[in-house]
């Protein structure tokens, strides 16, 4: 399972590499980030902490992370931020905590991880006296995970494929007669069950609790037309290669597809499945409480604005969008976009995520 934020930073790095964004501008932006509003009290608070280990998903993102969050914080707080790009899968976090050999302080993660590992006692509760709840959209400050950004799994299509007709809903996604061709969805299920139910006639607001049998039966109908993507880059590649005509992919990748193809590939937030990107702290992390000050440093609107500008990533801090109202249409978290989407339900995922993922995999692979 790759994380959206790793993917987003890979996007930025790719933009720099392919010349869509100048390296100078990129560096300038990141440097500005570092200078933005760090609290002087951090240095004192962190006097004993020498380093914080940030576990993420590697690749080009690692270097970018270091520049964006690591270096500025090192400078302000005098704490070294080390990155481990080997990927904080749920399994690895569990192994670390259970063997009492925790080396990570913060993991780049998703709602599924906080909801499944948190109640099992494998994560530290987020200290909201340090991390600011007011800098997170109401409802997204979870007990074991602080939301840093939001993203959405959206309907994306190749406008050349259907002779001018445009799919707008998940019902269209399931309609292989009007919209022929393969569809690509995420191998790790999040978003697909919701789409299946909406396609089957369930009101978007009544998707949760998910009726698994109904959703899986609907997915069986489409099974022969499905290809599964497992990382962001591959979700884009299948469109470019013409392997699929439609897909449910992260909107950050949809935006890139639309931009690079001069509008050939299109997407809509309509009926998109919005998900929070959360930072979790493994139980017994080496830096202890000091990690929460690092998390707080990543909440600043100026930093999140960059993510929104360059990646269309939805800022978790409501203040951020006010800095750039013109970007509202690209922001999955803007009020008008949120109104037409479904928000991933924490309660349901906490109870059912793992079992549902297994059943989904069984259905699509059998």
């Amino acid at each position: 399972m790759t994380s959206i934020i790793q993917d987003s930073l890979a996007i930025v790095a790719e933009k720099v590499r392919t010349g869509q964004m100048s390296r100078r501008r990129f560096m300038h932006v990141l440097a500005a980030l570092g200078a933005a509003g760090a609290l002087p009290s951090w240095r004192e608070a962190n006097a004993q902490t020498k380093e914080i280990i940030f576990s993420m998903w590697g690749g080009d993102a690692e270097e970018v992370y270091r520049k964006a969050w690591g270096a500025p914080y090192e400078e302000k707080a005098g704490v070294a931020i080390q990155f481990d790009g080997s990927g904080p899968t749920r399994g690895k976090i569990r192994a670390m905590v259970e063997s009492k050999n925790v080396t990570w302080d913060v993991c780049d993660s998703g709602l599924g991880t906080q909801s499944s590992l948190g109640p099992e006692g494998l994560l530290e509760p987020i200290d909201y006296t340090i991390v600011d709840k007011n800098k997170i959209v109401p409802g997204l400050a979870y007990q074991w995970g602080a939301t840093g950004y939001i993203y959405s799994s959206v309907l994306t299509w190749d406008s050349k494929a259907f002779g001018g007709e445009e799919p707008k809903t998940w019902a269209d996604f399931w309609d292989v007669k009007r919209f022929p061709g393969k569809r690509v969805v995420w191998k790790y299920m999040v978003g697909v069950l919701e789409a299946a139910l909406i396609a089957d006639g369930v009101e978007p607001s009544k998707v949760y609790p998910i009726d698994m049998d109904r959703a899986l039966n609907k997915i069986k109908e489409l099974k022969e037309h499905l290809v599964l993507w497992d990382n962001g880059a591959s979700s884009q590649q299948v469109f470019r290669d013409g392997e699929v005509t439609m897909g449910q992919i992260w909107h950050t990748r949809s935006t890139m597809l639309a931009d690079e193809s001069q509008g050939r590939f299109k997407y809509t937030f309509n009926q998109g499945i919005v998900q929070p990107g959360v930072w979790v702290v493994p139980k017994g992390n080496p830096a202890g409480k000091a990690v929460f000050e690092f998390l707080a440093s990543m909440q600043e609107p100026e930093k999140q604005l960059i993510l929104l500008k360059e990646l269309s990533q939805g800022p978790a801090n409501p203040e951020t969008a006010k800095l750039a109202p013109q970007l509202a249409s690209k922001n999955p978290g803007s009020p008008e976009n949120l109104a037409i989407q479904v928000f991933q339900n924490e309660e349901w995922y906490a109870k059912n995520h793992q079992e549902a993922e297994k059943r989904f995999l069984d259905v699509v692979s059998s």
Binding site: L226, D230, L361, S365
Partner: protein
Amino acid sequence: MYVFFVLPAALLLFFLYLLPLARILMISATDGQGFVANYGAVLTSAPIHRMVWTTVEICAITTVATLLISYLIAYVLLQVSERTRMWMMLCILVPLWVSVLVRAFAWIAVLNNSGPVNSLLQYTGLTDEPVQLVRNQFGVMLGMVHYMLPFGILPLYAAMKGIDPKLISAARALGARPFTAFRRVFLPLSLPGLYSAFVIVFIFSLGFYVTPAILGGGRIVMIAEYIALLISQGYDWGIAAALATMLLSVVLAVVFIAGRFADWDSVLGGSRR
């Protein structure tokens, strides 16, 4: 005294391989609900049965196809001139050095619906619609056979080279027709090589992971990938370890049963004679 030369390797194997392996056995017996529940889940779970069946089916077809093609190629290798053999060997060995990921993506590039093969098929009018060649079971098997061919060809060639050509001549001199000489003399003599090729190819196929994941479009899940998912997604380590242990038992059984008939000496470069 020679024991000191193998000691480092033995220690390495012991600490980095056998000990962790023992730990897997432990986990399969202790994690989750315990031994009975873990192995019981593997034996009774319908999804796992389906994946085991998919794996067995793909491995069986892959192995048969690989052995057939390998046998032909090895036989031809034996007949051609030294120079031609060198070129053929090069063509057999070079793909071995190409990463399995690169090969899988190369197949996608060549065989996808808008790729060159499908374009050609439609251009020549053989088909009206693109033929689905990858992102399905056929694609997986194609990729696997391609990967396994050198592992089939080399042991077979080694075994065939050890067959005395005078025996065929003798059979012919005694009145056997060419095919009879092949069937009654050459084929039985090449069987040990066939067994070793079978063991290698079949066992390798059981553990395939990357190729099915890519060429299967994510929808062909074989045991190895399922174990990886169970571990990395953190669902159920006990069941994953139980499944891994059973897979290992199957591999060992194949090695011991089929391996008894195999000609390991010639595969490993030595000779019986």
